[in-house]
Amino acid sequence: MSGKRIIKSIYPALILVVLYVVITTLRSVKVLNGYYIQVLMFASINIIMTSSLNLVNGFTGQFCIGHAGFMSLGAYGASVITSMVFKNAPAGATIPVYLLGLFIGGCVAAFFGLLIGIPSLKLKGDYLAIVTLAFGEIVRALLRLMKPIGGARGMIGIPMISNLGWIFLFLGIVLYALRNLIYSPFGRAFIAIRDNEIAADAMGINTTFYKITSFVIAAFIAGLAGGLYAHVVGFIQPDSFSFTKSSDFLVYLYAGGSGSLTGSIVGATLLTILPEILRFLSEWRLVIYAIILVVVMIYRSEGLVGGKELPFLRITRKDLYGGTLPQASSAGGKEET
């Protein structure tokens, strides 16, 4: 491995580190206050959510419109671990318990992702979409029924451990993992299913397996994001993960541009910050937001980024073959982006 490649493979992480250092410095010199930091944390969590949704909707071509359901499962899973099971853990064990909670939350969500992935064998397109919507609402209703975890009133007193550092760390890991997944042979199968399911099937791709896998991975990441979210706000209730929340993530995804991780980053960041910028409009805020959204969708239907990728979120053939393209693949046709 040449030095150049090593630099190339770590400089995305460097961007996040630099961003983190800049933000903490600005925070310490009081240019940014806690409110801005919180908005940034929400934006980062939304990026994680949107890019996981992107795996299902943008890369595998399935329609999931109940993604907040996975988020709520992750949030509850993680919160139960940190604030109930290990409530009396010693002070030194806070971080391990927190990480365990996030992991368990992700696993709970992934398990339900598996459950909801199974109907995708039989259902296509809009019918699958409505099942995922129904799933999100059923999860919400069931959480409301569970009295030990607060029922409809929600859970309070979740330790607020998530800070910008943790969230940036997980954001980096998730983006790195998704990039490598999507540009691996395994991930190419997802894209093949999106582009033409019948052709993918004919080429020997086990479409069912890949569709369920994409649901499970996306659910795990969404559960992780839910855990992070719960430990930012310290309070969760079933109704904060309603269909409105799911449709928010859909809006981020498609306004940014589906089928590109850059699109998820741009969409989630801009559309999380935009309503905050519009706060001076008070009641008219969401009206203007809605108008901007509709105008963007009409005049730039492919999304703001339009399927393009930033260089560090893309793996080209050149990266894989170290600058010298093998004869077969260069003759093989166009460069895929």
């Binding site: 039989k122 919507l133 609402e137 809605a290």
Partner: protein, 303 residues
């Protein structure tokens, strides 16, 4: 047994609201192929609009109730209004996206829904506060099979059934209806046969909006409180009933609406939270058994 009939009446009442709203979803889906998430908000506009229209006619009340003729006029104005709102939404927001991927239209619909909810909310004379809906129909009480039934409930259910029959007739036995069916089968071929597609789609949205307006009046007469957010969960439930019956099929939407309404009331009698979820549970079960809904035909994708 008394309880059974009582709940059945409530179920039919809620079911008629769902069915009327589901018809709009299913017609729009059948013709344009998009899920119009803003449809529930047409119901809200119908209900909130009726509140203001009824207020304008306040001077014509006799003994605190409106005469039949005025009620008819109010309903007609409200229907026309929601119909035009729906047509306007289609012309401004959905028409430019007709040939784009469906998800794009769906996201636009989410944006439109956000606009329709928040625009009235931001208007100073409407605002976010709930208002109590005026009594349009008689509140006399009848006893049928031991169940207490108000005249309002009977009028609502009858109104819903009549509207649906008219719609069924229009779609199956008139020129506009056959144009609609033609457009839903094949837009390009219909266009070649000289059908003005834009006009047919506008008419469809108008009818869907008008039905949503009636369902808004029905809902608000039964649960007399209107606010700007009432449309979103009703819209979701009606969408579920449209899918349950087989989206794109008019009989399916009616059937799905009534099934869901009745099931929801009976489940709510057991537990209020469960009542909300039962619709979704039924939906998943039915879709697992019949992937295209009760009445829908499964389209086999040919290579």
């Amino acid at each position: 047994m008394n309880y059974f009939f009582q709940y059945l009446v409530y179920g039919l009442q809620l079911g008629s609201v769902y069915a009327l709203l589901a018809l709009g979803y299913t017609m729009v889906y059948g013709i344009v192929g998009m899920i119009n998430f803003a449809h529930g908000d047409f119901l809200m506009i119908g209900a909130v609009g009726t509140y203001f229209i009824a207020k304008a006619f306040e001077g014509m009340r006799i003994d605190g109730t409106y005469p039949m003729l005025i009620v008819g006029l109010i309903i007609l104005i409200a229907m026309t209004m929601t119909g035009f709102v729906a047509t306007g939404v289609e012309a401004i927001a959905y028409r430019p996206l007709r040939n784009k991927p469906r998800m794009i239209a769906l996201i636009t619909a989410v944006g439109v829904s956000m606009f329709l909810e928040n625009f009235p909310r931001a208007l100073p004379f409407i605002g976010p506060n709930p208002r109590s809906f005026p009594t349009l129909f008689s509140t006399n009480v009848l006893k049928i099979f031991g169940a207490t039934v108000t005249v309002t409930q009977i009028i609502m259910i009858v109104l819903a059934v009549i509207t649906m029959s008219i719609l069924y007739y229009v779609v199956n036995h008139t020129k506009v209806g056959s144009q609609m069916r033609a457009v839903s089968m094949d837009k390009d071929a219909a266009s070649l046969m000289g059908i003005n597609i834009n006009r047919v789609i506008s008419i469809t949205f108008f009818i869907g909006g008008a039905l949503a307006g009636i369902s808004g009046i029905c809902y608000a007469s039964a649960y007399p409180q209107v606010d700007v957010y009432m449309g979103s969960w009703l819209g979701n439930m009606s969408f579920v009933s449209a899918v349950l019956g087989g989206i794109g099929d008019i009989r399916g939407a009616m059937l799905g609406g009534f099934i869901l309404g009745i099931a929801q009331i009976f489940a709510t009698a057991l537990n209020s939270t469960f009542g909300y979820a039962v619709g979704f549970i039924i939906l998943i079960i039915i879709l697992l058994v019949r992937p295209a809904g009760l009445m829908g035909k499964l389209v086999i994708e040919k290579v």
